[in-house]
Amino acid sequence: MIQSLTSIFSKITKSKTYLRPPGAVPEDEFISRCIKCSKCAQVCSYNSIKILHLNAGKDFGTPVIEAKDIPCYLCMECPRICPSGALDNALVDKEKVRMGLAVIDESKCLPFLGVICRSCYDECPIHRVAIVLEDELLPRIDAETCTGCGICESVCPAEEIAITIKPLSQLADKRK
């Protein structure tokens, strides 16, 4: 009982970094702007966007994408319907989306272990650009064009998922 309480408490106080829908403004501003209306989740045909419950902590009500389960397929429906400007209404080109950045853990990624696998490369919506194959074998992320949609993460057949999306908020200092 106490354990579950403390875990809930730690969840409430801990600030996690989430993958936000396409067009999300920087995380701090996003949390302030988002009015928790759920429209982005409702308009999402793929059920990619989930609304955080209070269980997840203080950012409850805000939309997140769990790329591992259902990634963003970049249909670009949600940014334009956001009433609060938390998602950039003007964003219509999927190429311009920057939700995060795919990062490959080479110790888990199959081609780095000598196994031919192109699942992420084949499924990448910015096809042949955001993920390139070095020597037609090793996947490399192009940080300039990767949208962070997470499709790669959702299809990765490695034993432990080898390609994961680091949300933009987490990358903020790195990209600077």
């Binding site: 249909c75 196994v115 696998c117």
Partner: protein
Amino acid sequence: MALTRREFLKNSAASAAAAAIGVSLFANQSVFASETVWHKSVCRYCGVGCGVMLGVEGGKPVAVKGDTKNTINKGLLCVKGFYLHKVITGKDRLLKPLIRKNDKLVEASWDEAMELVAAKFKESIEANGPDSVAFYGSGQAETEETYVANKLFKGHIGTNNMEGNPRLCMASAVGGYLTTFGADEPVGSYDDLDHAEMFFLIGSNTAESHPVLYDRLVARKKANPSTKIVAIDPRKTPTNKIIDLHLQVKPGYDLAVMHAIAKVLIEEGYTDEKFISDSVNFSNGKEPITYEEYKTFLKKFTPEYASEQAGIPAEDIVKAAKLFGQTSRVVSMWTMGVNQRIAGVWLNNLIHNLHLLTGKLGKPGSDSLSLTGQPNACGGVREGGGLCHLLPAHRKVAKEAHRQQIADIWNVPVTNIQPKPGKHTMAMFDAISKGEIKNLYVMCTNPAHSLPNLNKYLQGMKDCFMVVAESFHPTETSKIADVVLPAAFWGEKEGVYGCTERRSQYMPKALKPQGEARWDADILIDLAKRLGHGKNFEHFKSAEDIWNEYLKCTKGKDMDLTGAPYSRLKEVRGLRWPVPSVDHPGTTHRFVEGDPLFPKDKAEGRRMYFYGKPDGKAVIFARPDKGPAEPVDAEYPIAMMTGRVLEHFHTSTMTGQVPQLVRAVPKPYVEVHPDDAKKIGLTDRGMAKVITRRGELELMVKLSDRPLPGNVFLPWHWPEKLSNLLTNDVFDPGSKEPEYKVCACKVEKA
């Protein structure tokens, strides 16, 4: 408990340290109880024949890694092979025999199941003759298994109704090799890939269907950047990444292109006239013709004509032809895009034509190499004679001498073997639908998923008494079977696989079969005994016994394997026949000096002697050009193509057992060009209805520029959406291989 590679290396390192101080580190942790034992084997999937090492720990499969000493893959694997060990213990493993009772499959004992099968077969053979039963095998079964089935059905039961799924995949290539060269299977070998200066890919998505070979092309191109790769394919595939010129033809209209290339080769003077006069005959398919007549025949096939037929620029055809002519070493590779066609054999002939015209054959870096789809289609079925017109080791039932030779080895009166070929696959399932064949034994394949135009054949399969020996249940076929027998899977049985390049490789038994599963050959021997033919099968105590009897069949044939007994195969990474003696290294190029069967005396200075033909001359065929059997029309305006993806294999009975692979490509889809999608009103990942004259399917749409506008592409792996409900069951009159690759459909918003 599968360790990641890193963990494995760490544990080995720690163990080494422990050994240094005389401590056993992981002694009381069961997962590390014993060191992983690695068994040298061959990949269970496609026909490339990659060497794999199967890691076993405490009697359980824990990992598969590439065999670095195998020259085919040099340690590399594709993602399917990497997860092979997970298939063995897959969730659908069939552990006990099943019998249909009151229209339900219920568990039964082996004895009960086998008694039922034997009684049914006996009853049918006695009442309706031996041709009322049939066997349908597989290019994934071991050579030994197919051999036993062959011996039982053709030699003892006395029916030639013995087929295998290579009919649906390789038959046209066999037809091509036989008609052109007089002998089945490639002239060269994979070695040529490392020397080629140009690759000519036709109807082959090498990157996805034969990924390890693709990597060799990549490596070749990297080592020698001037290497050119030309592809003829109606679809942009992942292979496109490395190709220099893509002739994106309309599906089914590439015959004219091949003729046009031949025409340009002749006109531009790229032909090897000495080779042609030495080693080539010409034929129009019915009778011999002269070189001049062949040239006259080609007149019609100008690049412009071909361009009009195939919908590609004429200059690209000329460019492709010039590349073919200018480069000194060319390897052509093709697979189902060529074979699964109504003019499959012809198209095979036309590919060989180019090599014969230019003499680019039988020398390092030049070959006309048909890629196989299954690991043992070449070894077990083509060489083992697992088709209705064949007997082991490239023999034909129609030839009395051949029947006699085999009858002697089998120890049966020659009259047991019928001289008339049995029913080929499509005729067999047609006969089953009509009730002419009452009992069917299916081994290691899934016809209720893989036959074309399934609606036509499913009812017949349900009605007939069908025995399915499979490792997994349910499959579409085992679901409708009357008896389902649990078969030992890869790694649980020993045997030999023969891959694309005539190479036979040994697979060890590294594990006990799961549950009550039994080795297919063992089941067939059991059946033979119960049918009263036990005497000639009694001496088969092990796989080696069967192999040794098979080797007797190959002795002195063009595919002589006498020099490849188990003792030797266990040591080496496969041997390429002919290997007439145990000290022979195997053959990389046939019909030339170095081939042990090359008749120097007859050759008289000729570089190549095609000893399968009476005069040692291969044939260049003047075949008419022919479009698909079902061209698009106003009602069905879109051409439908079928194919594979990298992560799945065939009917996904194996890859479907691996959660990681399922995750990568989880569900069926149809690839539609965005222009078409716009016209029809389809959206990415929305649903579409694909309708042909034979059926309809609702599928998820994947927008892609891979097919041309006017074409759609369907991978065929998933049982829940059988693309074969849509495909056309017309077949090549020569090879009897159905035209899976193209039919007409319409696509609607669902």
